[in-house]
């Protein structure tokens, strides 16, 4: 009976997590571009939710939230092309975060930074393949800096939220 209750709580939380991540994606879309010369500079707000689920629950749950968010964002705001970019970013980002969390040598902030930079890296790789232009790789120089800064903020926020999250006892 008790495990059933926990299961329901868990599922409800995951639903809320997807909803929050979706809203954060939308808010991020409304923000003006920071530097129009280099597309792809962003705060990575939805990653706060992904980090929370990755640390608070499990990699499986984080992957589920990430993929459902991706599907919804694509349906609401995107197309097949944006899905390709987002998917590459999401998979590489969550992949590196899961690995770094597992080896346990970095804090939430370090894991978040790696996630942010790998998100940019995934998108740049897709852009190079689709556009057949390796010069796009130079954008990565700027994105490495912006991703690190974004990752620090997202990681700090995720770390604070994680303390409160643990009180929920899911």
């Amino acid at each position: 009976m008790r495990s059933m209750k926990t299961q329901t709580k868990r599922l409800t939380f995951l639903g809320i997590a997807v909803a929050i991540a979706l809203v954060l994606s939308y808010i991020e879309m409304l923000l003006p571009p920071i530097w129009s010369a280099v597309p792809g500079i962003k705060a990575g707000l939805p990653n706060i939710v992904i980090i929370l689920v990755l640390y608070g629950l499990s990699l499986k749950d984080a992957a589920a939230v990430s993929l459902v968010r991706l599907a919804l964002v694509t349906l609401l705001f995107g197309n097949a092309m944006t899905l390709l970019y987002s998917l590459a970013g999401a998979v590489l980002s969550l992949g590196i975060m899961a690995i770094l969390k597992k080896i346990n040598s970095f804090s939430v902030v370090g894991v978040s930074i790696a996630g942010a930079v790998f998100h940019n890296l995934g998108q740049i790789i897709v852009a190079i393949i689709i556009m057949q232009t390796k010069e796009i790789g130079y954008y990565m120089i700027v994105l490495a800096f912006s991703g690190t800064i974004a990752g620090i903020f997202v990681g700090l926020l995720g770390g604070i939220l994680l303390k409160y999250f643990k009180r929920l006892k899911l």
Binding site: A37, G110, M131, Q132, T133, T148
Partner: protein, 124 residues
């Protein structure tokens, strides 16, 4: 060393490594840059047009129903008008050094500066 301190140290190390790699990339990029002679216009990865940077021209790059206006003025190439939704290419500053590009993702248009000598391989 306690685990928290070790993790903080590793975090800082990670940031330093990322910045160092980016800085090296930037220096390599800078050192390979020289003033180019031509701009190539590629659509969907295939080179379609080539213009000299020494002449001032204005032309429309038409891809299906989409248009980007390419202007070459004073040795620099700009996109001054485009009917893409994000207008990132229009906001891009003028390009004149080899390897510099203006990219319009929605229209799959890439404007790249190349030098006269190496035709196929822009930058190794």
């Amino acid at each position: 060393m306690c685990p928290e301190k070790r993790r903080l140290r590793n975090d800082i190390l990670l940031i330093a490594v990322i910045f160092a790699v980016a800085l090296i990339g930037f220096l390599v990029f800078k050192s390979t840059m020289k003033t180019g002679d031509y701009v190539t216009v590629s659509i969907d990865g295939v080179e379609k047009y080539r213009y000299s940077l020494s002449e001032n021209i204005q032309t429309d790059i038409i891809t299906g129903e989409n248009t980007n206006r390419l202007v070459i003025d004073g040795g620099k190439a700009y996109i001054t008008e485009a009917d893409c939704p994000d207008k990132i290419c229009v906001g891009h500053r003028g390009i004149s050094k080899t390897g510099e590009t203006i990219v319009c993702l929605p229209h799959k248009v890439v404007v790249a500066v190349v030098s006269g000598e190496d035709e196929a391989d822009i930058i190794a």
